[in-house]
Symmetry: C2
Subunit: 357 residues, 2 copies
Amino acid sequence: MAIRRNIPTVAVDAMGGDDAPGAIIAGINQCLKEEQPFKVLLHGDEQQLEPFLDAYPLVREASTVKHADIAITMDETLSQALRRGRKTSSMWNAISDLNEGNAQMAVSAGNTGALLAMSNLILGTMEGIERPALAVLFPSVRSDVVFLDVGANLRPSSLQLAQFAIMGAAYARMILGIETPRVALLNIGIEEVKGTKAIRDAAQWLQNANLPMEFHGFVEGNDLTNGLCDVIVTGGFTGNVALKTAEGAADFIAYLMRSIIKRSMLARFGYLFMRDAFDMLWRKMEPQEFNGGVMLGLNRLVVKSHGHATSTGFSSALGVALEMSNLGLVDHVKSDLQNVDLQALETQANATNSMDE
Amino acid sequence: MAIRRNIPTVAVDAMGGDDAPGAIIAGINQCLKEEQPFKVLLHGDEQQLEPFLDAYPLVREASTVKHADIAITMDETLSQALRRGRKTSSMWNAISDLNEGNAQMAVSAGNTGALLAMSNLILGTMEGIERPALAVLFPSVRSDVVFLDVGANLRPSSLQLAQFAIMGAAYARMILGIETPRVALLNIGIEEVKGTKAIRDAAQWLQNANLPMEFHGFVEGNDLTNGLCDVIVTGGFTGNVALKTAEGAADFIAYLMRSIIKRSMLARFGYLFMRDAFDMLWRKMEPQEFNGGVMLGLNRLVVKSHGHATSTGFSSALGVALEMSNLGLVDHVKSDLQNVDLQALETQANATNSMDE
């Protein structure tokens, strides 16, 4: 019985994402089989969940179903979602469970804007942090890179960008084990004069502040994958587009390779010997395998899965949540932030008060 | 002698880009050898050009050197560049040559902001177009996709985004031969409520306007390469990052593949038979091979080469300029625009006047 106390509990919004609740429950099943044991507080429409729980007895066993009348849809505006979903939706209820300590983490594949707003309202942000940012681990030639924001704040201010950089560094310190992470702002050129005023201001502050990181300055899109930096910071609009563009480029190259192989007899023969190598490559390139973004800056651990996530994708997002919970991500970032003079940054920022325009 | 009249003339800014003037002159040499014959008005510092012209006699023969004291650097601000470079820089002079009809096109690998501003000042925009946009052809699983803006206007207004869409459609009609191009706006989700106000407004107008295109609505980053649309429109900041991110992803995959092959004896054996297929793939993935963005919306043809362009990259940009000149791009776009009620669009836009924020 002693061991059961250590089994973590995940609050899952079973109704969020394009293929909910089917892909969500199949994803929980996959994660239960492949990763560690965990308990689930399964928020959603009981009637809709029931047949899937029949299909996946492992999930039924691990879960407590918590009925919610409302499911937030992907095409709702923020105000619609908050009006309809406050205290009644599976998303709201999952975050509330987390807030009340019934779970150690919450995972949703639902509407990003709504998830961010509800998390903000219910859980609040860490002291000194204006807005949470969505951070992912992006593969590179050296090791993974912490990339944020990938969709939470479309056009952050310079102060917010600087805060993202500090949170990203704290994340990298924990997950990549690098004492002094190398941090950069994503821009359209590496020269100091490039980019919007918000980015240039953020760069100036990060350059001059005494922070536990090495501020590298600006990088460009192609630097995401070349291992130059450990943390790359941008606004949520551009970050989201960059992330999905990289996924699309990988798909495109896989398509090209397959069509070239199909056309050449010689290449088809060679492929027989290279199949294992290619299988490894396809796996490395499969975005569902590294799905799961952390909402950095909240007082509790919320993980956002891609809205298009398959069961494999949702399982991967659950895996991220479990790993970050085991590592104590939120506490790590919080304690790191206590060593940073965020107030000084804010004073500087308010003096300029530039928006990303 | 009759045939010489048809040889086009290119005004080249020989001092722009990271490896100027060496890579520029080597690029002209490569293009002269591989493409059609053309004449060059070579703008730059005579003393710096001289040794390279010694090294490339083919370029010397095709060129008239036009000395300029000033070279605009990559790290100059717009106001610095205009103050220093007005009427004295190789960039300014190359565009002036184009304006005076001494050349049919101008090509520069220099500072994008300066090139845009000088082109705007000297050549002016087409009637009804507020700002030119930088358009590239992006490879996809179906055919090339017209992608704009990739760096000219960091945060365009909704009106400007709509104008980019109309110009992109005109470009696609000419270069892809599609009568009714499918046009989309790049966003962080396909739902109508997603994105900034500027994007949503632009979408609404494009949806309701009677335009010679099929407006598809919103697409995401991964739709750049899947052939869903013929024209994809975004602001210059995000477009630039997306373009370079795709390049970086391609490099990363090539790196992964090489390292997997290196580790496996079997794969190395298979590779012997697949070498030709891989060579074809590397070529398709090489960004220098499809370098060269067109400044759409100017009254004359200006092509921007990547600042990091090698000689192959600059040769490719020259090839784009020659092809677009042969096809009569500027006249095509102009005549297409005459069939569109840009005034109505502007009236609508002024009523809302949303900036991308």
